[in-house]
Subunit: 389 residues, 2 copies
């Protein structure tokens, strides 16, 4: 492995009843809180009421930013920053899934500077400070709660950027799988695919001597393949919600990729794809990942794909060539996701060849060094997206 | 799983060259440092010179506490506390393995109170503050660098206590496996057994729905069984040192046991054993664990032992009863450790029946609730230790 630094001081409060810790945690950091949330599902499932009752009981004042989009926009981030500055907010509380948390990460760094936040998101300027924040996770998948990274879109320019800052680390994450039992089936599928796609990005690295990390990745992937269909047949099953929630948090907690950097090329392509077409991240990944795999698979890296096929997809390799086993694994991954109801081609989102050059151009423009396991050119991206149509 | 809190803010700096981060890290916290180390191996292998040169270059003053014992004594802890108070030490730097780090954990809390430190170690008084500290790990095995717990002995009363405090968490841990290539074979074996014994303690829990955690434990165990004999045949092999060092840090980092508490009964017995006989922890665990397993194994828990046998020891279960598979797994674990040169019976340390009642009494006196997977009485401890003679 490479030399590495692992530092993840986010306090993870996981399981039934952990909202009971909220008051103690929030009052450590703030007296005036900005609540950030999305389309209002937290009002329907009672989480909003629970949270605001806790804040009232703790004499904590709050203001609100609602309506954060599934692919959060910089315009919404700017609104949140404005509220923080006008209202002297000293703590931000995200309630939702990855979009709400990603938006919050940008708000907290933007609130402590006069620089326009897009300059930070587009990596022109480094953040130098950030408000403290915590999150209450109501949708599993993105793992945003234990990670530094955030993805924000500028809808006007059709730009979508992934960025990180050491100031975008949450103080705490409260994850009660009870809150997830009402998540609809499509978002549940997208979340499971999203979590798997993070683990797969880690898994496709080129570093030597990582037996523990590789087996950890395989453990999470196998578990999600086992549990997700059970959950989809029984959406209110607490035990399965718990497993998927735990898997998705661990997937992006930096605990699976100590000592190496995964590929992430498919993520870059999906960011460009959804900047242009606003497709859900998990859906985009379900389509793109198997096509990326088939495209980059060759004689030099076939053993990695074979390992995935045998250890995760449990393909029997008896009497087959390495390449056959590898391809069978990729196909089984694709059909597994399709069997959950995930999209398998871009035409499922009415995307045609027309925007293909734009998607490829934006991928490489945003990420000139696209992919670590396999470096991709703009033409490579064109081919991968074309095969996904 | 149970609801849980995971919070581990120790910064892990792992790999070749990470000592280069020392100056930056130490100067964040202190101007006057106490160096804590053991019998002087760090002077022979050059680590002492490297560290002190870094401190000199950073204009950091230091004082020293050397001679920390393999089972660190409270008398040594008290010496360290006295130095901290007299010299106005504001940061402590442990250089060594688990004993040095455990001693340091007690020094940092003792240095911030007028209470005698044994009252904190014996859990009469709670620590309310602690000096910041970091560690440079030169021997793998105990995982003390990312954990809260510490074990300290009072040699006069033959008491050995495990204790924890939220103030005993390190600010950073520097682990460069290069420093470990000169560790002698016996300590290397003990370290690998110690790391495995931590994972085994986690593994024997009674909580439901922990598929990811269980597979993580199995991954670390399988890897240590695979890599340790290779390392023992090639002690200077960096790659194998790296794997064992990584495994032992992760084993006690709280990352493998989120949502449940393992057994820890065997650890409690070993603490009493070594309080009476001063045997090395890894050696004691190699002897006691298989005997604990055979003793507690019954029809109600046989599937857990079978899972260990098939998933970790890779026993073929074809045509065998669950109990046969379970017992075969335990025996293979014992012979594996013996094949590395670990002791397999207490007579290897010249321990006879004579002290058996004292060991059992001390175990239960120190830990009245001994064992979570299986609660042990004093008579149970007698039987387990007797079978280990």
């Amino acid at each position: 492995m490479q030399s590495f630094m692992y530092f993840n001081p986010t306090k993870l409060l996981f399981g039934k009843g952990q909202l009971g810790q909220l008051s103690k945690e929030v009052t450590k950091y703030g007296e005036k809180v900005l609540l950030v949330y999305g389309g209002g599902s937290i009002k329907r499932n009672g989480v909003y009421d629970e949270v605001t009752n806790i804040l009232k009981a703790a004499d904590v004042e709050w203001v609100e930013l609602d309506g954060v989009e599934p692919n959060p926009r910089v315009t919404t981030v700017r609104k949140g920053i404005e509220i923080c500055k006008e209202e002297n907010v000293d703590f931000v509380l995200a309630i939702g899934g990855g979009s709400v948390i990603d938006c919050t990460k940008a708000i907290v760094v933007g609130a402590k500077t006069d620089v326009d936040v897009w300059d930070i998101i587009s990596r022109k300027v480094r953040a130098t400070d950030g408000l403290p924040y915590g999150s209450i996770v109501t949708i599993a998948g993105t793992g945003a709660e234990m990670s530094l990274s955030s993805v924000i879109s500028d809808w006007k320019t059709k730009d979508k950027r992934a960025w990180v800052s050491s100031f975008s680390r949450a103080k705490f994450a409260i994850i009660d799988p009870t809150f997830m039992t009402s998540v609809p089936i499509e978002q549940t599928v997208n979340g499971a695919v999203d979590a798997m796609s993070h683990v797969l990005e880690h898994y496709f690295h080129s570093e030597e001597n990582t037996p523990i990390q590789d087996q950890f990745c395989e453990s999470v992937l196998r578990t999600l393949i086992d549990v997700t269909p059970k959950l989809l047949n029984d959406l209110e099953n607490y035990k399965h919600r718990e497993t998927v929630a735990y898997a998705s948090t661990i997937a992006l907690s930096d605990q699976l990729n100590m000592g190496f950097i995964g590929d992430w090329g498919t993520h870059h392509i999906d960011h460009a794809l959804s900047a242009v077409h606003d497709v859900p991240h998990g859906g985009g990944m379900a389509i793109l990942f198997p096509h990326w795999m088939h495209y980059v698979l060759d004689e030099t890296n076939v053993m990695r794909f074979k390992q995935l096929a045998t250890n995760v997809l449990l393909i029997d390799s008896e009497g087959k060539s390495d390449m056959e086993v590898a391809r069978e694994g990729i196909d089984l991954l694709a059909t597994t996701w399709a069997s959950w109801g995930a999209p398998s081609k871009l035409s499922d989102y009415n995307i045609t060849e027309e925007t293909l050059p734009l998607i490829a151009e934006k991928t490489i423009e945003t990420q000139p060094k696209c992919g670590n396991f396999k470096r991709l050119t703009e033409q490579d991206v064109v081919e991968i997206v074309k095969s996904s149509l």
